[in-house]
Amino acid sequence: MVIAGGFGVGKTTTVGSISEIAPLTTEAAITEVAAGVDDLTHTPHKTTTTVAMDFGTITIDPTLKLYLFGTPGQDRFWFLWDELSNGALGAVVLADTRRLEDCFPAVDFFEHRGIPFAVAVNCFPGSRTFRTQDVSRALDLEAGTPVVLCDARSRESGKEVLIALVEHAGRMHTARMLDSVG
């Protein structure tokens, strides 16, 4: 599973609250793909940059293990998302209603690739409570895409979001199967 969303929206917190291990962080190299984007003129010897990616695990049973990968916050690391999303069960797009536009790139990314995703609205203390249908309309989500209000710090809340996502993924796969035979 992929946990996506804008910078500072609570991705690491979400991974940490639901993972059975403390979130691990690893660094991935930014290769030549980013070379045209990064201004290297002032640092001519620097050809790679690193980006931190954190992840956690949930053991479902002895033969099934879920990996939760938090995507790097910046949009331009899309190619890393591509790799993470390949074979992913689905994605959670974390949203902050104070900066809803921050999650547009993630929503676009998963919609275009047909990857099942759910939007989880992290209810920060002091932020106004929104209705899920308002968020759904503001993000122009495809019908059926779940929107769940959540507290990134709460494990119970994280579970609800993941369950909503997996149920949605099941419905999407069933619909595609019916389409292909019909």
């Binding site: 609570g10 917190t13 991935a28 990996y67 074979g87 507290d151 796969h173």
Partner: protein, 99 residues
């Protein structure tokens, strides 16, 4: 990143003769691990682990298992995931404030 890696019997036998990162990777793979976990535990770059794991696999010291691509779309797997998620205890909730 989620590819599973585990040390082979041969790899463990030859462990003492391996050096530096190769030694550490085989040692940490006594139990199956993902590439991402190895990188995080050994504080190595993801791509460094990838390259070394491939070398160790060629040498017969590691075995590498790529997860089935269709697993994520298998209805019975999705059902197991939902049931599994429901049984996770809530006890650890609301613990960290830092992000």
């Amino acid at each position: 990143v989620e590819t599973q890696v585990v040390a082979t019997a041969e790899g463990l036998r030859e462990l003492d003769r391996l050096t530096f990162e190769r030694h550490d990777i085989v040692a940490v793979c006594r139990r199956p691990q993902s590439i991402a976990e190895i990188a995080a535990k050994l504080r190595l770059h993801l791509n460094v682990v990838r390259v070394l794991a491939e070398d160790l696999r060629s040498a017969g010291q590691l075995s590498v298992h790529v997860p089935h691509a269709g697993t994520a779309q298998d209805a019975s797997v999705l059902r197991r995931v939902i049931d599994g998620l429901r049984t996770i205890p809530d006890s650890r909730g609301a613990l960290r404030d830092s992000d």
